[in-house]
Structure formats: C-alpha cells, structure tokens
Symmetry: C2
Subunit: 300 residues, 2 copies
C-alpha cells in the first residue's frame, strides 16, 4: 500500500492512535492546535504548518505574500482554539540560487504578521532545498475558560461562519487576516461549543466538528456567504484555505450574538446541529434536501 | 545577490536583527533553543529542525532511522540548554507513491525517541511533496538555575566535549543518543558557563561559543577524542552532526567534574578559554601552535 491509498486523515490517525500521552497534555493530535498544561489560569497552545512551493504557493506570488501566509495559517489555528499567539520558530528551505531580495520580502511578510499579532520570532532553521519550504511552529495561550475544541457541538446549536467562503485561490489564501480578535470576542463572551478554522473547506471542516462531537447538521445554501470570487456554490464549500471560523453556539444565544457582533467582518448563521450523528444535510435554494459527504481538500 | 553569496549565518542574522521581542522572551534567535517565560521556577524552551531527503538523510536509510534522527536532533538542542524535552509537533512532506511501510517505520522511530525521553507527540501537519521532508518543533523546560547559554564562557574555563568526534557520516548521524542526562547532570551539579551541541562541527560550534562569549580558546589535538570512524583529524573537527555536547566550566571545577563523571559516555578535557576575543588556537601533536578559523558545515 502507498500513501495515496491511505489518505491524509488515515495517515495522521496512524501516528496518533499508538501514542501515549502524559498528564501534561490537555488535548493532543486532532484539533487546530495542541493544548498543554501551562499556568494556573491558562493553557499553552502549540501548532505547526508546512508550506511547500508549488502546492501552497507559487514563487511568482513573491516573498512578501508567502511569508504572510506561512505565519497567518498558524495564527488562524491558534485563533480557532480561542487563544492568542505568543512565539514562533521558522524553518526555511531554499535553493542557493534564490535572490536575497526574495528572502528579505519573505521576512518582511513574516515580521508584519508577527508585529500585528504581537508574536515573538524566537528561532529557526535554514536548509538548502530545491523548492522553497517554510515551516512555522507557533505557541499561543488560552484562558482555561476560553478554550474551544472541535468536539463540543450539541444538538440545538446554531452553526455560524465568519467572513465569506470560496474563491480563495484568486488570492485571498495568500493575504487573509486570521480571525484572532473575532475568536477572542466569541470565547470571552459566548458559550462557544465548538470551533474550527476553514482550511480543508467549509464542508470538510464542519465535518470534523460533526465527527468529533458525534452529532449531525443541517446547512442552508441560501445562508452561506459566498465570496464574490467564488466560482460556484459547490467549489466554494469544498475548496480549502478560506481561513474563516466555523463555530457553534447554543440556539438561544444566536440572535443575541448576531445583534452584538461588533466587527466589520461578516457573521452568518448557516445552519443548526441536529442529533443525527455524522449526517450533514444541505437545504438547497429550491428547498430540496440533500445528504452530503463532508469531503474537502486532502493532500493524499 | 543570491543566498549562496549571503551564507547561512548571515541569512539567520538578517531575520533576527530587525526583530523586536516582548518581555516574554528570555533568549530569542541565536542559541540551541529559544527561552521563554513559563513558570515561577522554570523557563519554556522551543526549538525546530527541518530534515530534507538528500541533504540530511537518504531514503535508503529507511524510515526508522530517519524518524529517530528527526526527533533526536531537536532533543539534542533542548539538552544543550540544560533542559528536558516536553512535547513535539511534526510536519511531514512525502510523495503519494511512498510506501505505507516506510511511514510506519518512520513513525516507529519517532515514537521510540519520544518514549525514551518522555516526549508527548501532540500534533502535526502532512503535505504532499516530491522529497521526504520532516520538520519537528519541540518544547522543553529548564529550571531557571540550570539554564546554560552559549554566551557565558569566561577566561580560565576549561573546554570539555562528551563522546567522540568525527565519522558521523558513517551512520552515527542517524542513530546517535542525545545527551540529555549528561547535560542535566552538568547543569544540576556544576557551574556550566556555556554549552552547545555539535551540529555544525566541533570547531564551528566552539566558534559560536567564543563569538557569543567574546572570548578565545586553545584546544589540543592530542586531547580531542576522535571516533574510530573518523577519516582524519581535520575532517573530524570540521564535519557536523556529531551531536555531542561542548561546554565550559571554571578551571577549578574541572578535575572534580572528571572524577565525578558517572556516565559510560566519554568526557574529554580538550582545551581552555583565554581572554583573546574570537581567536582559536590549536596545539598540534608536534606542539606547533596554529591559528584556526571556526568554520564548519553551512547550508549556503
């Protein structure tokens, strides 16, 4: 058997299922970030993402946007836990023929995100490689009461999504703003039962929430906020890298949240959690109900 | 200008010099691991290393040894700070055609090092790539009193090295044991003024200590413990990936340390720190004194 037959999620499961964890771990493999014991009132978060030229970016996009993306995808993971980022270490693989101007632009993109979110850049590694490779590992912290996992969605919850969905390939995947302040507002002020960032695609990532929470859901085509860059509904909800937040709150808090939402970033109520484990239903614009499979982007 | 002209160390400096750090950082870029504020009596450590097929390992070495190495190089960095490892996140790039057996062996190597050093494997990322790429980011902790940096070497210090040096390419670079217990013993019981692990080469890494401590040193050819796999003296002290510890302690403690050393791992007194900034002298076997340049392996 080769990797392609195994699939990305089985690949990850294969590592995690034989792992024993110490009492220092609150949540290991299987959420947007790992959660570790830290201080009396807060947990430490740890996440990592690897970007490879040709898969996550093209060299022609320029160092600046690539550096921004490498940082932002990790910041988005910390946000999705209800936390704030702290410190990053960065591994860079690059060919010796790469122009120093490209590297300077890359570092400028990295530093800009770091400054915006008050992240300390504290170390790294540089390696010669044919393709440009950037791996960022980012720590963060979350107040214990603010921690939001994927597995707490509950029947009666309303499903929300921030911003708009789809068309990220037209450029937004390189220049999005991680939803840190929105997530902090939510975690501080609402009983957010579950949250995830949209990296694999809206349907796939909502699927992670449903699977881990052992519930099902209904979403409404008319309610899903499509980006003006989205090609069509199907590709919008299947494509990845929107880096918006999908989350659920108890139904009775939904209206209050919509009313109180203080940000320019859009907030959309797109559906509800139901007690039908793992099932996801889409109510199409013509009112037809479709059963859909939570699939999205997978590397293998 | 291209990367090759800039050189690896200038590449790292280029990022670090424009970075502003918060009060949460005890030591940023420029040591074996970053040091962050953590608990009342201890600091958090954070390090990362990226291994790429063809540069750090060959696929023919098999997944098991490659997995071990990917973990061990990071553990060695934590050890060189006087700390112990805590939790790791792992990014894996691999071609879809790679056999699942290879991946299982890789994970076995990773898990074995994790279990030996009680490291929690808490997350990661998987990406499709042509070459196999493994990035590990590892946290650790160090008692405040045990923290050892590169910059504390002082005239009159004696320079020590653990184990033997050279010939790592014959296989040891894939199967070495990080010197965690040795480093903990040293940090707990001795005034270790400076410490580093030998990744770039004995001369180069001692050079990092001299530069950061603004001192010089003398080492003795006859005192340097060559591995039986070493080709010759020059390549042994210039080649990298020995992953032994080089450290300095006050001269008056040197004999006591040699006497008390409780490990099977060899401990060698190889020289002394002198007050001549950045100069490194080698006393050859024929008593001739040579001035040498701290050079070693650089990726660019």
């Amino acid at each position: 058997m080769i990797l392609k037959d195994l699939g990305e999620f089985n690949l990850i499961n294969r590592l995690s299922k034989r792992v024993r964890l110490s009492a220092g771990v609150v949540k290991g493999i299987g959420d947007d970030a790992a959660v570790l014991r830290y201080k009396r009132d807060r947990h430490l978060l740890l996440t990592t993402d690897m970007l490879i030229e040709g898969r996550h970016f093209l060299r022609s996009s320029g160092g600046y946007l690539i550096g921004k993306k490498a940082m932002s995808v990790n910041v988005s993971d910390i946000a999705a836990m209800g936390g704030r980022p702290l410190a990053a270490v960065i591994s860079l693989g690059a060919p010796p023929s790469l122009g120093v101007g490209f590297i300077d632009a890359l570092y400028k993109g990295i530093r800009e995100v770091a400054e915006k979110f008050k992240i300390d850049l504290v170390g790294g590694d540089t390696v010669r490689s044919e393709k440009i490779i950037i791996n960022v590992a980012l720590t963060g912290e979350v107040k214990k009461g603010n921690l939001v996992l994927r597995n707490g969605a509950s029947p009666g919850d309303v499903i929300f999504v921030t911003g708009s969905i789809g068309g990220s390939l037209s450029g937004r995947h390189l220049s999005f703003t991680p939803r840190v302040k929105e997530a902090l507002f939510l975690a501080e002020n609402y009983r957010v039962h579950s949250m995830i960032d949209v990296s694999d695609g809206l349907i796939a990532d909502l699927g992670h929430i449903l699977r881990d929470s052992r519930v099902g859901g209904v979403i409404y085509e008319r309610a899903i906020p499509l980006s003006r860059h989205a090609k069509d509904f199907n590709s919008a909800v299947m494509d990845g890298e929107d880096f918006e937040l999908v989350f659920t709150v108890p139904g009775r808090d939904a209206d209050k949240l919509l009313k109180a939402w203080p940000f320019k970033t859009r907030l959309s109520r797109i559906g509800e959690i139901c007690p039908c484990p793992r099932r996801l239903y889409l109510v199409a614009k013509n009112k037809e109900i479709q059963k859909i499979k939570p699939k999205g982007y997978a590397h293998f």
